[in-house]
C-alpha cells in the first residue's frame, strides 16, 4: 500500500512543514497559528450557513412548483368536466414540464443536504482538533524548555495542519457546488418571475384559467337563461309557485306588464306572446 496515497499525505505534510519554516519564535507563533485555526473554523461555519441558505431556497422553489403542478391538475380536471379535452391536455403537458424541473430540484436538494452534513461534521472535527491544539499549546508553553518545545510544537502543528488542509478542501468544494446550484436556482426564479411558469401567488391569471372561467361564466349565463325560460314557460298552474320560490328574478321579468294587469290574467298573456319558444326551453334544461 503506497502509490499515490502516500504521495498525497507527503504533500499535506510538506505544506505543513512549510508553514512551520516561517516561524521564528515557536511559542509566540503557536498563538498566531491558533488564531488562524479559529478563523478557518469561522469560515467553515459560514460555509455551512451558505449551504443551508441555498438548500432552503431550493425547498421554497420546490414548494412553488408543487403548488403550480397541483393547480394544473385541477385545471385539467375542470377542463374535462366541461368537455374540453384540448385544454386538459394543455394543462397536463405544462404539468409534466414542471415535473421535470421538480425532479432536478430534488436532486439538487439531496446534494446540498449531503454537502451540509459533510461540512457540519467537518466543522465539529475541526472544532475538536482546535480545542486539542489549544490545550497542547498551553502545555507546551508552560512545561517545556525552548529546545524541547520545538519537537512538541512540530507534532501539534502537523496534527492540526492536516485537518485544516482537509477542511479547507471541503469548504472549497462546497463553495463551488453551492455557486453552481445558486446559478441554477436563479434560472428557475427567473422563469417564475417571467410568468412562463405562472405566478404561484395567483395574482395574475394564466390563459388556461381565463378560458376555463370564460367557459364557466358562459355556461352560468346559459343555465340561468334556461331556468328563467323554464319558469316562464311552465304554464299557468306553475307560474305562482315559481314566483313564490324565486321572487327576485321572476319579478324583474315582467316589469312592463305588471302595473296594467291583474295577477291571474298575466300568465295567459305571456303564453300568447311567446308560444313558439316554450318547446326550446325544455331542450335547454336537459
Amino acid at each position: 500500500m503506497a502509490g499515490i496515497f502516500q504521495r498525497i499525505s507527503m504533500i499535506f505534510r510538506a505544506r505543513t512543514d512549510k508553514a512551520l519554516d516561517k516561524l521564528e519564535d515557536p511559542r509566540q507563533t503557536l498563538d498566531y497559528s491558533y488564531q488562524r485555526q479559529l478563523e478557518l473554523l469561522q469560515k467553515v461555519r459560514r460555509g455551512v450557513a451558505d449551504v443551508a441558505t441555498s438548500r432552503k431556497r431550493v425547498e421554497l422553489q420546490a414548494t412553488q412548483l408543487n403548488t403550480q403542478a397541483d393547480k394544473l391538475t385541477q385545471q385539467a380536471q375542470k377542463a374535462l368536466e366541461v368537455g374540453r379535452e384540448d385544454l386538459a391536455r394543455e394543462a397536463l403537458t405544462r404539468r409534466s414540464g414542471l415535473q421535470q424541473q421538480l425532479t432536478d430540484l430534488q436532486t439538487q436538494h439531496a446534494q446540498l443536504q449531503g454537502e451540509e452534513e459533510k461540512l457540519t461534521r467537518a466543522s465539529q472535527r475541526l472544532q475538536a482538533k482546535v480545542d486539542a491544539f489549544r490545550t497542547r499549546k498551553e502545555t507546551i508553553k508552560a512545561t517545556y524548555s525552548a529546545a524541547e518545545a520545538q519537537t512538541r510544537i512540530n507534532e501539534a502543528f502537523s496534527g492540526i495542519g492536516e485537518e485544516m488542509g482537509d477542511v479547507g478542501l471541503a469548504i472549497q468544494r462546497a463553495e463551488d457546488k453551492t455557486a453552481q446550484m445558486q446559478a441554477r436556482a436563479g434560472a428557475i426564479d427567473e422563469l417564475l418571475a417571467s410568468g412562463a411558469l405562472d405566478d404561484p401567488t395567483g395574482t395574475a391569471k394564466d390563459d388556461i384559467t381565463m378560458e376555463l372561467e370564460q367557459l364557466a361564466s358562459t355556461s352560468d349565463v346559459e343555465n340561468e337563461l334556461a331556468r328563467m325560460k323554464a319558469a316562464i314557460g311552465a304554464g299557468p298552474g306553475a307560474a305562482p309557485q315559481a314566483l313564490e320560490g324565486q321572487q327576485a328574478p321572476a319579478e324583474s321579468l315582467p316589469p312592463a306588464a305588471a302595473p296594467s294587469q291583474g295577477n291571474y290574467t298575466q300568465p295567459p298573456a305571456f303564453e300568447g306572446q311567446q308560444p313558439q319558444q316554450a318547446p326550446a326551453n325544455d331542450g335547454d334544461l336537459r
Binding site: 500500500m1 503506497a2 502509490g3 499515490i4 496515497f5 502516500q6 504521495r7 498525497i8 499525505s9 504533500i11 499535506f12 505534510r13 505544506r15 505543513t16 512549510k18 508553514a19 516561517k22 488562524r36 478563523e39 478557518l40 459533510k118 461534521r121 467537518a122 465539529q124 472535527r125 472544532q127 475538536a128 482538533k129 480545542d131 486539542a132 491544539f133 497542547r136 507534532e155 501539534a156 502537523s158 496534527g159 492540526i160 495542519g161 492536516e162 485544516m164 488542509g165 482537509d166 479547507g168 478542501l169 471541503a170 472549497q172
Partner: protein, 94 residues
C-alpha cells in the same frame, strides 16, 4: 498506521489490515492511469469500505499525522490529479 479519508476523518489500521488494502489500491491506481471515472468511483468505494470496516476511527480531538491520505468516494479523476499536482498554493493557512 493512520489513514485519512478526505472529508471524513482518520482511521487507525493494523499493518495486516493495510496489507489487505493493496489489491484495492492497485485498482484505484489503474483507474487514475486510465482516466476511467466509473472504475475510479467503484475502486475508491471498495477501498474506503475496507478502511472503515477494518480500522478504528481516531477520536476527533486527537492530533496525529496520517501515513496515507485517501480521496473520498465521489472524487473525480481531476480531483485526484489536482491533489497530486498541487504544490505551493494552498489550502493550509500559514
Amino acid at each position: 498506521m493512520i489513514v485519512r479519508i478526505l472529508n471524513e476523518g482518520q482511521w487507525e489500521l493494523s499493518d495486516e489490515a493495510v496489507r489487505g488494502l493493496n489489491s484495492l489500491d492497485e485498482a484505484v491506481d489503474k483507474a487514475v492511469a486510465a482516466a476511467d471515472q466509473d472504475q475510479l468511483g467503484k475502486a475508491l468505494q471498495a477501498l474506503l469500505d475496507r478502511v472503515r470496516s477494518s480500522g478504528t476511527a481516531v477520536p476527533d480531538d486527537e492530533l496525529r499525522d496520517s501515513d496515507l491520505i485517501l480521496p473520498d468516494a465521489d472524487s473525480t479523476i481531476e480531483d485526484v490529479r489536482a491533489l497530486l499536482s498541487d504544490t505551493d498554493e494552498g489550502l493550509i493557512p500559514n
